[in-house]
Symmetry: C2
Subunit: 464 residues, 2 copies
Amino acid sequence: MEQDPDSNYDCAFLDDAITDGRVAHGASVREQYASDESPYPGRVPDAVVWPASSDEVAAVLAAADERRVPVTPRSGGSGLEGSAIPIAGGIVLSTAEIGGVEVSPDDLRATVGAGVVYDELNARLAPHGLRFAPGISSGDVATIGGMVATNASGFNAVRYGETRDHVRRLEVVTADGRVVECGRDVVKTSAGYSLKDLFVGSEGTLGVVTEVTLGLVGIPEHRRAALVTFPSRADASRAVADAIGSGLVPGAIEFIDTTSMKMLNAYHDDVTFAERPTLIIELHANNGGIEEDLAFARALCEDHGMRSWEAADEENLDDIWQARRDKYHATKAYREDWDVALVGDVVVPISSYPEIVEAVARASDDLDLLTACVGHAGDGNLHFTSLVDPDDGEMVERARELNERVVRTAIGLGGSATGEHGVGIGKRQFMDEEHGPAIDLMRSVKRTLDPNGILNPGKVLPDA
Amino acid sequence: MEQDPDSNYDCAFLDDAITDGRVAHGASVREQYASDESPYPGRVPDAVVWPASSDEVAAVLAAADERRVPVTPRSGGSGLEGSAIPIAGGIVLSTAEIGGVEVSPDDLRATVGAGVVYDELNARLAPHGLRFAPGISSGDVATIGGMVATNASGFNAVRYGETRDHVRRLEVVTADGRVVECGRDVVKTSAGYSLKDLFVGSEGTLGVVTEVTLGLVGIPEHRRAALVTFPSRADASRAVADAIGSGLVPGAIEFIDTTSMKMLNAYHDDVTFAERPTLIIELHANNGGIEEDLAFARALCEDHGMRSWEAADEENLDDIWQARRDKYHATKAYREDWDVALVGDVVVPISSYPEIVEAVARASDDLDLLTACVGHAGDGNLHFTSLVDPDDGEMVERARELNERVVRTAIGLGGSATGEHGVGIGKRQFMDEEHGPAIDLMRSVKRTLDPNGILNPGKVLPDA
């Protein structure tokens, strides 16, 4: 869209489009909405709105579209690639106030407002013995709307799939303010174009998701986990590739490298982990066969030189996960005044997992960085964070270079630039390389659904 | 697209677009491509082509698009809704000659030409202990390209999902002859618009799929099945709803009504089934927990008045399935000179399964028809076939009326007009009712990707 970078948009029209009290024009509020959890710079928007219904979203979008005012949808603000940053000014449209959870246990289904937080949804589902299962790390902040926008996933995707796999139906508001339903309340259908799958992962650039019907899974009756250490990262990552290739379907299988374990030891006064490459393996089942699976997983780890196996049952399962859960904060705390440059997020075919793990280590050595790795390894997903002195521009640049090298390696292995965090601002530069000529089709779809280019400009698609 | 119904298209240009021998202009060949397994009337195409590669498909499409000649993609020809019938004449483009299977067992993955037949693919995968899992009935004829086109599924979708759930990457040729890759060789990604999901289920109206990268699952180490009878169809269908609602994930769970069992007894000289509503329940596992699941399933059936439980292990599992597998032929053979009017295919939320089963029985009684039902019940999917005298136009009309009533009931229950057969010609009339305003977005997408309307005209989308 055409835009003068120095001009602001007059957003007074919003006072007619939305209920009183659901719009803010004041600078102090607007400034809070210029950034999110990502390291990317934003621009202070001209207004922030918190519609409470799809009709209010429709009123805002119709009025904005008519006036060609950019609209950046936002929900929890926990995104790591800048998907919710208003780089063109205009309106930030928060879906955080769109609530509501309606559970249909007999159909393993819930219909959920876009602003409902992941952990809150699962708290509502627990009394029914049910769960929305992707298992994201930021579940205390991230909303269902944001998860749909980025096709988020996490710890448990290896068994239960990404957000997309659970979305049965979406309510979406189009750029010009139409409210449409995409998909049906069923587990399968062959009734034409799957528009819901087009909106999932589109980060609010094609429409604003206001309500989601999700498929649910039962909370497993049995859970077992083990913290397993290996002589080398190659042994650990090969164990993961073998486990998945063998057909084992764990509830979770996490990789944590030696540097991360050191950071966790430094962070905690009360625990000391072995400072070796580590896997957390968690198994789920509704029958006693879980013990057989656990023995199989252990034998497989032994084949890869396993050094230690610390098992846990339902009662002390959380102790095992404590290691993984504190990783981000432990990294941030590791060197005073230093910070993580960015959170890397790539995904590769599972047989290439050892290769991508080595690629990060090699690049980190080459570039003289301190880099910690963890990953939802069973999906081929790897996260990496380099710690940098934020005042040392050259060091920050080396961390950016590391990210670029690793992403290009992942794409070269047949993988993807982002496993679960989305494209946002940070991964746009890799989209041509990853998608090739399909990018032209994506641009066509964008032009069709958002002809005036008001929806989340500057995200997902690379510059033409 | 504009078309004079009486004119033919001059397709001589195809001789330049495609290798000699891969095009037919003669009437005897063309006539074979005017119809498929569905009851809908077609029109004899002006030419048939069998490209052997995506480049040949691209050459045909580019030339046809330039000349505005309709192209109807076709593969196995086993579709039941007329998706592959050339209702506007022009070219039938068969992908049956696009072969090739490349298996990557370590990544649980195969890259497959669109013309590869389902059963042949699984025969190639079996030595690796792997399987492409939707479990369709027509696996001896249906191709992977056709399965992607209709988002096909069948017996085993209840555990493993529909075709969509297994597609990681597609090679697609656009209407104007560009070859594009959609998706990556990974199990999850958040890298922008999921174009592959737009092409899956679009029945060749948005592009022609030439190659597919599929995710595979391990052949289960243990399988158990049982043929279970119930006092009434309500008891059987409630047992299904309860089983799925309880979180049991069977390998398959099929419903077969009393009329179908009668037809099977009449068809076979050597077996006699109890003529009662029946479920086939099959369980899959890689550990000994399967016996616990089997006991759970049996107890659940007992709660619903189970009359008999005939169990089978790996050795005699096929005997159990014989009942289901011959159903279509048994129905056709049941009354001399009569035929099935059409094969119904609806899907509803699982808690509504008893209701849709009753709706078919009620409509069949009202309309004085002989109707047999089977269904992949665990998905909420129900098939129904009324036997009619094809020379009795009024009876054929009543069967059409039954289909319409059942489809509208399914949609009213939150379900879908088609669970796995696609829209084709037969279900177009219900798409407005099912999708509402989203149909306008689908039309926009169609216009964007096929601006000249050459791809499979008259399918999927309803008349404007």
